[in-house]
Symmetry: none
Subunit: 409 residues, 2 copies
């Protein structure tokens, strides 16, 4: 089954709205095993919409339209679909009754303009809109179908779930479902991760593999199409095992897991407490840790020692050490980690100092130079990193590297 | 000038990523007075991409592609554009030098795979990527042009602003320009802000007004189309003045200004130092403050006192006070603010305590209860807030309300 999605609305083309609906619909169709090859966005213009519907109908088995079902003159979806498949519009008394009911519930007389929404292509099946007045439409044309959905997500989503998905499953006795598994890595750039999984990226057929890079994180996604969720998961399992073997310990989690969540789970399990002394990351690491529910069970304190004063008075870093090596140095990172471990009594402690930019870099210590120290009962050690990007990027990359050191401790 | 946008990526068609880039690009082109009639999304499939490029080139004067410029086998944009306009790929030594520089900065040898990105359609103009390795491309084909941009927004946006917009303005001597002015507010929900500006939202013609709600922030956007920037700005000015009058002191800034940036500027100007004692916000407020360049000039320290131990040992909050009122209470927030002001010697100090959830709420203090205390030489006071949403939402709303209190101090 091949499908296309047409999103309709000049406000989309002007960029005033992000097309989150199209992404939602794409995900739902993928889950039903329906392939989407093209998605098109057009404005509220009859000639261009007509052409787009015709092109899509030629290429695909089913065409979904989103938007343009409202009551105003701008809403041309129903009439243009009718034109595209050479049908007329018929007035549906039953739809106008539903519309009347909608307004009566709100104590309002139906505005005359809304009865336009009762004009639908002859032979269409109307889909119930539990939120608004625009009915959804299923329109058959030969062996192909067009499904017209309203634009607002709060109308489209329940309509898809309650009416469209059950219809599609029944009508096409859909046999396939798609399951995805995301393997998340950090510590290496995309260009180093990619060669490790290159063979998998070329896989064709029912199970495929993709690679997606984010700031400080590279995800490998395995997608499998099968008759049941269980079978899809079964197909994914050996591929995941082989990919994990190739990737080794850069893998930190899967699917919805986060680096901070993984660390929280591990610390809670080991019953170890954590404290963090930050300079260049400015509280971001503490904030990521405290994004995790139950972090209050193990996180004792975070100190953002942005000034030298804070480093000496709160963390007991000796002013001489700062004077000798500079605030951004290995000895100071180590002293920060040791300092906060002592004052907090935490089992695990971190000290981070660096240059986030956009100023403050030197030839020897350019912007992006970061020292991260980890102190645990058995050892205290420090790693030097060289990051690049904006101030915010460097903060983010610093937090990611710190959490990754914590994971490897 | 007619343009089309082609977004490339199977992950887009599967709905794994929302196409926010396309909306951004649409807005920018609208601002330049360039009409976008179609936007198409295709997967990483050469045959379908080829056809899409050809169709778009037939209909439009310029075609923008987004994505598929990475170093991997999946990235087929440059080669497919070359095929569509019957050109070859040429290896560009100057691009490979830029790529080498990118990796050298990070202390890494250029992975061999990245040199693929130096193969560009013969005769292309390469656009500088200040963030990643993928060069953008301007490719002429007869009277038409194709502009290929990288997929990640943090690469695409600076490239558009620094290279593409100036190029388009010069090359097509664009006659109309659109200028927007965003008035940013915080402290009231959209439902309270909207009635204040309802009359403006109905404006038609060359100057229009829109309202956009975010978490803890409502923006009013005035957009004006005119022959010059100066004329557009002139049209915006009186509208902005009238809107500001209606909104009063909920307005904290305009355009690219941030709440933390406004506060930083004000503290630097007043030569006042700042320290923050956080509990439920977990370091987020310190992190937002330290996102601002030059924050090291006024931000002395942040303490995330997540445990009672940290509150007493670091901030000198009396254990009796915590026992009597609870850690989430007005007296504790006040003591935290006073405590950090004393130990830091800062002119301005904040104390924040609350319940971020998802557990820990009681009938008297439900999830989302937050106390924010502000201490300055003349006074120390505390406000109680009741927020709603996820743990992250509550943290974010807390940081916004805190910075807003700081703004009003």
């Amino acid at each position: 089954m091949k499908a296309e999605i047409i999103a309709i609305g000049t406000e989309l083309l002007l960029g005033h709205i992000v097309n989150s609906n199209a992404a939602y619909l794409s995900r739902q169709l993928a889950d039903l095993g329906i392939d989407v090859y093209y998605r098109t966005t057009v404005g509220d213009n009859e000639a261009r919409l007509l052409k787009t519907i015709q092109t899509s109908l030629n290429r695909a088995d089913m065409v979904f339209t989103i938007g343009g079902l409202g009551p105003t003159e701008d809403d041309i979806t129903a009439s243009t679909i009718a034109k595209a498949i050479s049908k007329r519009l018929t007035y549906s008394p039953s739809i106008s009754k539903v519309i009347d009911k909608h307004f009566k519930k709100r104590g309002i007389k139906t505005p005359r303009i809304n009865y336009r929404q009762a004009n639908i292509p002859t032979g269409s099946i109307a889909l119930k809109n539990t939120v608004g007045t625009a009915p959804g439409l299923i329109i058959k044309s030969g062996k192909k179908i067009i499904i017209a959905l309203p634009g607002p997500p709060r109308e489209l989503i329940p309509m898809f779930e309650q009416s469209v998905a059950p219809y599609l499953k029944k009508r096409f006795s859909l046999k396939y479902t798609i399951v995805s598994r995301v393997i998340k890595t950090t510590g290496l750039p995309e260009s180093s991760v990619c060669p490790k999984v290159r063979g998998f990226l070329k896989m064709e057929g029912k199970t495929t593999v993709g690679i997606y890079a984010h700031l400080g994180q590279v995800d490998i996604k395995i997608t499998s199409k099968a008759k049941t969720k269980t079978l899809a998961k079964k197909a994914i399992k050996p591929v995941e095992k082989r990919i994990r073997k190739k990737l080794g310990d850069i893998v930190f989690g899967t699917d919805d897991e986060t680096l901070e969540g993984i660390i929280a789970t591990s610390l809670l399990k080991q019953k170890k407490t954590l404290s963090i002394a930050e300079s260049c990351s400015g509280g971001l690491i503490a904030s990521r840790i405290t994004n995790v529910p139950r972090s209050s069970k193990f996180f004792i304190m975070g100190i953002t020692a942005y000034s030298n004063q804070a480093k000496t008075s709160l963390l007991n870093v000796s002013p001489k050490l700062i004077a000798k090596h500079g605030a951004v140095s290995k000895p100071v990172a180590l002293a920060m980690a040791k300092g906060i471990r002592e004052i907090s009594g935490s089992a695990v402690a971190l000290g981070i100092t660096g240059i986030a930019g956009p100023t403050g870099g030197t030839k020897k210590k350019p912007i992006g130079t970061v020292f991260i120290a980890l102190s645990i009962p058995k050892k205290t050690f420090c790693k030097k990193f060289q990051f690049a990007g904006s101030r915010k990027d460097i903060k983010s990359l610093t937090s990611q590297a710190t959490l990754n050191m914590l994971r490897h401790k």
